[in-house]
Amino acid sequence: MNQKKFLEGLRDGLPIALGYLAVSFGIGISCHAAGITALQGFLMSLFNNASAGEYGGITVITENAGVWMMVLMTLIINARYMLMSCALSQKLSPDTPLGVRMLIGFDVTDEVFGIAIAQEGLLNVWYFIGAMCAAIPGWSLGTLFGALAGNVLPVWAMNGFSVMLYGMFLAIIMPEGKKNRVVLGCIGVSFVLSGLAARLLPMLSGGMRILLLTIFISAAAAILFPRESPDVDTENASGKEAHAA
């Protein structure tokens, strides 16, 4: 064990954990609203570490939409982690044991990936493990607290807390939209089509609407406005402070 690298990771993971605490508190509130217990919410966050993916999953559970809907929803919304893991695999020493790869694969989130990829040279896995030791409790405990708060808070307070998650979603997407007009266009189109679909196609469940629109709009943007830069590493590293899991 490399204690110095572990502590460095722990130190860099701490601010991430504090940010997670707030976002996952919102996930916990959503769990409560969906009838998911605090223990279930805690386990969901402990084993997923993904905000949009978990929100999509909560929709599937609420609508009892079936296993395949859950697989598809998770696959599409979390697919970007594949990109990060691919980049991360280039940053590991080739002789990194399988068990260690399987361990760090557990917590490839936007933020942990961001600080790991920003490390100079090859990644010391103990740095990553240190960051995990801060990030994972932050994320799962936040969800637990949010779901528990749902049991004791009055309706007027819950109304306020329930928009916090959406506020964070907006805080994640708008800065990128400001930098990149295509993203801004995507956000606008997403709002409009989502609003129209909810109104005009009431037979479409919420989960199905999220899934179909995500595929349709992202694919259209990828065809119309392909991204030239193959440099995902620097792109994600620079966004490390703003993104949510």
Binding site: A22, G26, Q40, L43, M44, F47, A52, E54, G56, V67, M70, T74, I76, N78, A79, R80, Y81, L83, S85, S89, L92, R101, M102, I104, G105, F106, V155, W156, N159, G160, S162, V163, M164, L165, Y166, G167, M168, L170, A171, I172, I173, M174, G177, V182, V183, C186, I187, S190, F191, L193, G206, I210, T214, I217, A221, A222, P226, R227, P230, V232
Partner: protein, 99 residues
Amino acid sequence: MNTYLYIAVMALTTYAIRVLPLTLIRKPIKSTFLRSFLYYVPYVTLAVMTFPAILTATDSPMIGGLAMLVGIVSAWLGMGLLPVSLLCCGTVLALQFLI
């Protein structure tokens, strides 16, 4: 269906996405389409998740809509994750007592 089963399916799918490139594939993704698609997905999906759901998150669609407006503007002005969400929350709490 059982919620725990849903959670297990969700967790396994997420884990597979993360761990396969680290263990079996170990190669960068070359396809421009796929890379672009994966880049756009989080922004699109979070936008779709936010609207119109935020309208039904509180007791009044108008309060939800105003909270969204406050969120968009404050995020555009560069405020961080926590300040934006607290402003949205504050908007709802304040309007509930005013209206």
